[in-house]
């Protein structure tokens, strides 16, 4: 790019034009033009071929451009006016050129082979620069713009034209600089003048008179310097004249309020016929020929003369060795600083004028040498402004002075930048007045007056001068930057511009920064990041000076470069600025975008977070249709970042074939449930349906749900800010396709969301839906259910419930959102929508994490990934089904170990259909259900009252036997919808800790549903009870010193410190019958009862016992106990029943027993009344009395089978051999049931428990009534013995005291097992 034409255009000799008012009127009235306006279009003259001698060289001037100025306009406007005008220009240019949007593909264009032109990128800069250069003309330190010739014009038909010219010259208001003797004055006798007569043809001026006048003045002023110009030969018709419409306007510049800068204060009014209406082509041609004549005959010869004069004068005083020595001796006398302009007649001023004239005549070498000469002077004088001026010119001369070579090559050899930078440095030096003021301030501060005296502000003229100095400095930089850019040294351009901008006024600094930024892009490779930074700086400057439009443009241009790079402060700044600017600019939508991005501001102080949120919401308040706000294809609603929603992890709470009772049931692993359910379903399911078949539709896994039952999705909401957020209107976005009519009437999408215009939805029905169908292969494609937001919360098919939540600062909350399908079909949940603080709508689509498929079946997420069942968001809604529901959690929170507790489960059929084939699977051996076959044909309601009649313990699959118990309830009967079933369950926790009790209720719909629907439903309940220890027993057994068959037992019973106050009620000996594999032995039962409650022990008889159906186990026979000191005859008179109340525990002891009809049992129960406070222990001394020997008839069959099993007879025989060595003599024997939980033994223990509880329950129901409290335990009760699952032990029957006193319905019973009972275990069969 060649920069020289532009520079040539900038500088041209200027011509002063002065006309009498009459002469001006000739043109103004008819044409609306001044004389200057008329001349300006012809200011370029070509092919003159006039010889001019400049210095020693003689050249022929071929082309010349001149500038015409009115005499009254030749001054520099004040700096404020200039700034104002420049602002206006910039604003207008920005309005015209700057788009708010960034230039598309800017970087790509810069990377390509032909980068865009800078002028196209920033047209406002070009406009600004030319105006800036224009306004800075007529400075007092440069004579480039001073008039070199003047033209005086008068009307042609005056009498005595010479007097008119004299009057004109006499009345001429000279420019200020001319008055100050700085500008070469027109009053000088050598000042070149040209005299012009204006002949108005239309006014009918006499041509003869004009010619006479011309002849007269020619005689007076010389032949060459007088002209006659014919104008207004037209008739006022615009069409008649040949000039284009804007022929004159192109050369007119804006008028300033203060005038000056070469333009008048105001333009003459446009006449009715339009500008130039009376001017014909002939007129214009004559103007052109006049200018040509003027230039060749007056201007150039006179210029030559003046150059010769100046040169002679300068040669005389400055050039040559003599002058130089002269100056060497005289100069440098004082080191002073001045900014006083030199008058035109001084040598310094003449040097500058000579240089400028040579420069204007394009004699750059001569000009440069003259400037260099002058530069020494100015530098020596310390006149920085003038020095800077000539340095600037030297720089320009070096640029322009080499016509032959390509400019870039020249510039590379000789960098003109140093001159420009020198000029810059000197221009920005503060003017002398300011320095003087500063000096004064320093001295006064040092003086005794102290700093109290205010620093004298520099005089306003000095301030203005420094402002002008700053502008001139910027001008130098602009020129230098243009030169560097032309030379392709973009980095140097940027350096210079960056240097200039820092102290410059905002608008100009912005422009400089912007230019600098773009020049960074011209560097190879483009410095993109520097470009972005400088653009941002430019944007800030623009904002500061109110140029919003280009500011936004600058910011937007770089926004894309910064976004997504994770520089969070940068992004925050961009969004904050752009948001604020967009608000001011009225661009609400974009402002919303930026404010929306600012909402993620957790790292800021809370006040600012609050601010950000409020300004966003305030701005959003007025907007009704938030969906319409889109950018880059994204929707504002979709981008709302508050609250933070975890879209990757959702949990579906949906009841398919399995329903859950409470969240704790969901925490149990699925495998447990499946195992339990397999017990009941094994009959109806086979391998085809049981887990083998995948639930897939169109390669997408789905879940099942039942219509009329809610589907819940757990979504996590988090508030990252320190501001409280109110989230309302939270609901799921769903699409629903009714079953069956997907093919017929089209996929009727019913979806829901927040308020907004609805697009294709079910409400529009019919045609719209069919359109959806035709272009959708599958009705469930999520893409086919566009963000359809209905105004209703749901539709006829689904009902979506709303939730609302308040999120406190930093809070995270998991909310269950629900949708309720009303009809069978397909339901897809795609996302969630909400309203923030009642204003901003948000929406997010779920993107659930899943395992990627190796072979994706399609493009939908469901086809790309495998989801676990609780994350599948596609549902098949099947027709209504029965459903079991647990009405309340019946389990107590805590139990004591060994306590027996009956809980009542209340199960309701909450579905719409009756339920049959009820079954119950209990997954823990410590909970049992009393089971019997009897009375199974009783009617439903009655059987409800007497539940034990209709339950049946069924066989479970072999592998599960032992851990699960399956009960079938009411075979053949149904549970109607809404009906409640109460069912007792007995809990007997034996361990300590938390008892997890999974229970499955199973049922089948009474009428089998359609194909593909569910065959059964289950209810999964998981209760958890914390089991605490209460009683502990420490037994010691040794042989009685007095009786061979007796043993002494010391039983120490400790109450737990954390426990309650209990009363030991009874101690009973329990002999556990030998079981298969179970440990046998003797034991005792301690039964506690409330203090003060009078008892009648032994009331029960065998008749209250249920008939034992199968009694393969032997009834315990033999052992009885008594307190030490009681008559041992009790052992003999076992049948003697004493019913005296046990008042004194130790003194009045009664051997009490049950008269076993089958085996005359000795009394084995001792009623007690021993209160035990928490932490207390009681000690009982007991005597164990061996039974009389019995013939070992049946026992031998079972006895040897069990290694550790003891029968009474064997014990009797073994009693004599107490020291019998046995492998278990260590006394560390633990019962086999707990030590070796093999499947068979566990199953047996479950059976035992069931039996025992059954018997107890019967006792309970029959003898103690509805209170449910077991009053007394019979030690010889076989059921009780069987309940003692751990084998040998003592049962402590007790009551919690508070419970007993308040007579609540809960019976408590604690079994204390005595695992280490060496005396007992030492009896072994042979």
């Amino acid at each position: 790019m060649d920069i020289r034409p532009w520079l040539h255009d900038l500088y041209a000799p200027s011509i002063l034009v002065a006309a009498t008012p009459a002469a001006e009127a000739v043109l103004q009235v008819k044409n609306g033009l001044s004389l200057v306006d008329l001349l300006r279009p012809y200011s370029s003259v070509y092919q003159l071929n006039v010889p001019v001698r400049v210095g020693e060289a003689s050249v022929r001037v071929q082309d010349l451009r001149v500038r015409f100025y009115d005499a009254a306009t030749l001054y520099q406007p004040p700096s404020e006016v200039m700034e104002e005008q420049l602002q206006e220009v910039l604003k207008a240019a920005a309005q015209r050129h700057a788009r708010l949007d960034p230039v598309p593909d800017l970087l790509q264009r810069f990377m390509s082979d032909n980068p865009p032109d800078m002028r196209d990128l920033t047209p406002w800069f070009t406009a600004y620069r030319s105006e800036f250069l224009r306004l800075l003309r007529f400075g007092d330190h440069e004579s480039l713009d001073y008039p070199v010739t003047c033209i005086y014009a008068i009307p042609a038909d005056v009498v005595n034209p010479a007097s008119h010219f004299d009057t004109l010259v006499g009345q001429l208001v000279m420019p200020p600089l001319m008055q100050q003797d700085i500008m070469y004055t027109v009053r000088d006798k050598d000042f070149p003048r040209h005299y012009l007569l204006l002949l108005d043809m239309a006014a009918g001026m006499s041509e003869k008179r004009a010619l006479e006048n011309l002849a007269a003045i020619r005689r007076l002023y010389g032949e060459a310097h007088c002209s006659l110009l014919r104008v207004n030969s037209g008739n006022g018709d615009r069409a008649h004249s040949g000039a284009p419409v804007d022929f004159f306007a192109r050369f007119q510049h804006a008028c300033l309020t203060s005038g000056g800068a070469g333009e008048p204060l105001a333009r003459p009014p446009t006449p009715s016929g339009g500008v130039g209406a009376y001017l014909t082509v002939q007129d214009l041609d004559s103007v052109g020929s006049f200018v040509r004549e003027f230039v060749s005959r007056t201007l150039l010869p006179k210029l030559e003369e003046r150059i010769a004069r100046l040169n002679a004068s300068i040669t005389a005083t400055r050039r040559g060795l003599r002058n130089r020595l002269n100056r060497f001796w005289k100069g440098n006398a004082e080191d002073r600083q001045t900014d006083r302009p030199y008058p035109w007649h001084s040598v310094e001023g003449q040097m500058r004028q000579l240089g400028d004239l040579a420069f204007l005549l394009r004699q750059y070498a001569f000009a440069e040498s003259t400037y260099r000469l002058a530069a020494q002077d100015y530098l020596a004088e310390g006149n920085s402004k003038w020095y800077a001026g000539v340095e600037e010119m030297i720089g320009l001369c070096t640029v322009l002075g080499e016509p032959a070579d390509p400019i870039a090559a020249v510039l590379l050899q000789n960098d003109p930048m140093k001159y420009f930078m020198r000029a810059y440095e000197n221009y920005i030096k503060p003017p002398a007045a300011v320095l003087a003021a500063a000096t004064v301030a320093v001295t006064s501060a040092n003086g005794p007056v102290g700093p109290a005296t205010a620093m004298p502000s520099p005089p306003p003229s000095a301030v203005a001068a420094s402002k002008i100095g700053r502008m001139l400095a910027t001008r130098v930089i602009l020129l230098g930057a243009a030169v560097q850019t032309a030379a392709g040294r973009h980095r140097a351009t940027s350096d210079a511009l960056m240097r200039a901008q820092s102290e410059e006024e905002n608008a100009r600094a912005g422009l400089l920064l912007e230019q600098s930024a773009y020049s960074m892009l011209y560097v190879r490779p483009p410095l993109v990041r520097k470009f972005a930074f400088q653009m941002v700086l430019a944007g800030i400057r623009y904002i500061c000076c109110g140029q919003k439009r280009i500011a936004i443009h600058a910011y937007r241009q770089v926004l894309a470069l910064y976004l997504g790079k994770k520089w969070k402060y940068i992004e925050e700044h961009l969004h904050a600025v752009l948001g604020a600017q967009c608000v001011e600019y009225g661009d609400k939508e974009r402002a919303l975008w930026h404010f929306c991005a600012l909402l993620d501001c957790a790292h800021r102080p809370s006040a600012q977070q609050h601010n950000n949120v409020t300004q966003f919401l305030n701005l959003l308040t007025g907007i009704r249709d938030q969906l319409a706000i889109t950018q880059d294809g994204a929707n504002l609603v979709d981008r709302l970042p508050l609250p933070v929603i975890n879209r990757h992890d959702v949990r579906v709470l949906c009841s398919d074939a399995a329903c859950y009772a409470g969240p704790s049931a969901r925490t149990v692993p699925d495998s447990t449930w499946l195992k339990m359910e397999a017990c009941c379903t094994s009959g109806s399911n086979n391998w085809l349906v049981d887990g083998g078949a995948k639930q897939e539709r169109d390669h997408e896994e789905y879940s099942m749900c039942v219509c009329g039952e809610e589907v819940g999705v757990q979504v996590e909401f988090r508030n990252p800010l320190a501001v409280k957020l109110k989230v309302t209107n939270v609901r799921l976005i769903c699409s629903f396709t009714p079953e069956g009519d997907a093919g017929a009437s089209g996929s009727r999408m019913a979806a829901s969301g927040d308020a907004g215009p609805l697009s294709a939805t079910a409400e529009r029905s019919g045609d719209v839906s069919s359109v959806v169908l035709t272009d959708s292969a599958h009705p469930l494609l999520p893409g086919q259910s566009p963000a359809a937001l209905t105004s209703q919360p749901g539709s006829e098919f689904i009902a979506i419930s709303e939730a609302q939540l308040t999120l406190h600062p930093g809070e995270a909350m998991v909310e269950v959102l629900r949708v309720l399908p009303h009809a069978p079909g397909w339901l897809r949940i795609t996302g969630v929508t909400w309203t923030l603080n009642g204003v901003a709508h948000g929406r997010i689509n779920f993107d659930v994490k899943g395992r990627r498929r190796k072979r994706p079946k399609g493009t939908r997420p469901g086809q790309l990934k495998h989801y676990p069942p609780h994350r599948r968001l596609l549902f098949q809604v099947v027709p209504a089904m029965p459903r079991l529901e647990l009405m309340s959690d019946p389990l107590p929170a805590a139990l004591y170990s060994g306590e027996l507790c009956r809980v009542m489960m209340r199960i309701r059929n909450s579905g719409r259909l009756p339920l049959r084939a009820l079954a119950l699977v209990v997954g823990h051996p410590e909970a049992v259900c009393p089971a019997t076959d009897a009375n199974k044909d009783k009617p439903l309601l009655e059987s409800l009252k007497d539940p034990r009649e209709v339950v049946q313990l069924s066989k479970v699959p072999h592998s599960l036997r032992g851990s699960l118990q399956l009960y079938r309830l009411w075979p053949g009967r149904e549970l109607a919808p809404g009906e409640v079933l109460e069912w007792p369950l007995w809990l007997h926790p034996r361990g300590v800790g938390t008892l997890k009790l999974p229970i499955v209720w199973y049922g089948e719909p009474a009428v089998s549903g359609a194909k593909g629907s569910m065959r059964h439903r289950t209810l999964r309940v998981c209760g958890s009870v914390s089991v605490q220890p209460l009683l502990a027993a420490r037994p010691t057994v040794w042989p009685s010193p007095t009786h061979l068959s007796h043993y002494l037992l010391r039983l120490a019973i400790d109450n737990s410190k954390e426990g309650e106050r209990v009363v030991l009620q009874q101690v009973a000996a329990v002999t556990v019958p030998p079981l298969t594999g179970g440990g046998g032995g003797g034991g005792g039962v301690i039964t506690g009862k409330p203090k003060g409650a009078a008892l009648a022990p032994g009331l029960r008889t065998q008749s209250t016992m249920p008939p034992r159906s199968t009694s393969s186990r032997s009834l315990s026979t033999g052992w009885c106990i008594s307190l030490v000191g009681s008559p041992s005859s009790a052992s003999a008179g076992g049948a003697a029943e004493q019913s005296q109340p046990p008042v004194g525990a130790a003194s009045t002891v009664t051997g009490e027993g049950v008269s076993g009809a089958t085996a005359g049992v000795l009394p084995r129960s001792l009623p007690l009344a021993e209160p035990l406070q928490p932490g207390e222990s009681a000690s009982l001394f007991l005597q164990l009395i061996a039974p009389p020997p019995q013939p070992p008839l049946t026992k031998n069959q079972t006895g040897p089978a069990s290694g550790t099993g003891l029968t009474t007879t064997e014990m009797a025989t073994g009693g004599t051999t107490g020291a019998d060595p046995s492998p278990l003599a260590s006394g560390m024997v633990t019962p086999a049931g707990s030590e070796d939980p093999s499947i068979t033994t566990t199953a047996a223990s479950v059976a035992q428990a069931a039996e025992a509880v059954r018997s107890l329950a019967l006792v309970d129901s029959s003898s103690t009534g509805p209170s449910g409290r077991l009053r007394f335990v019979d030690g010889s009760d076989t059921g009780l013995q069987q309940l003692n699952l751990f084998g040998p032990g003592v049962l402590a029957h007790f009551c919690r005291l508070p419970l007993a006193l308040s007579c609540t319905a809960r019976g408590c019973r604690i079994e204390v097992s005595l695992p280490h009972c060496p005396g007992l275990h030492s009896f072994r069969p042979k």
């Binding site: 820092s502 410095l527 941002v536 500061c544």
Partner: protein, 158 residues
């Protein structure tokens, strides 16, 4: 809004006020920039700054990446010394073999201490890099790393 603009102009333009600001709180910001120009670790070693200063620092650091890209071909050393300046803020850079850039924004510290700081941090960074889950754009969130960098800065940069 006007006050906002004023702030900007104050913090970004007025170099005199800027130097005053730096007198009160020295600037020392360390950033690790990943291969894709994402900042993967940022720490302000001289305590919290006001908002505008934070903005400016990030802008200066980000724009200095261009200078780093140029300078790194001129030197065989990973330590590139001061690569960029803006209004009295210097950016010293260190380029690892994997084109991860360590940038330190400071107001004229001795180059030797910065060099040793970078070398030590490089050791730490290599350990982070050994993590198989570390990708070029992963932010370094290790507390231990953070603590050690701060310790190093205290020791070496004062």
């Amino acid at each position: 809004k006007i006050s906002l603009d004023k702030e900007y102009s104050c913090s970004l333009n007025n170099s005199r006020s800027k130097t005053k600001l730096q007198m009160s709180a020295p600037t020392l910001t360390f950033v690790i920039v990943g291969q894709e120009d994402h900042p993967i670790y940022e720490v302000d070693l001289t305590g919290p700054k006001e908002q505008q200063t934070q903005y400016l620092h990030q802008f200066v650091l980000h724009s200095s990446l261009d200078a780093v890209d140029e300078q790194m071909w001129l030197s065989k050393e990973p330590h590139l010394k001061v690569v960029d300046r803006f209004n009295g803020l210097n950016v010293t850079a260190f380029v690892t073999a994997g084109n991860t850039r360590f940038l330190l924004l400071h107001d004229g510290r001795s180059d030797d201490s910065i060099r040793s700081f970078f070398t030590e941090v490089y050791e730490l960074y290599l350990r982070v890099l050994l993590n198989p889950f570390h990708t070029p754009t992963t932010r370094i969130t290790s507390r231990e790393f953070d603590r050690k960098v701060k310790l190093l800065a205290k020791r070496l940069l004062g």
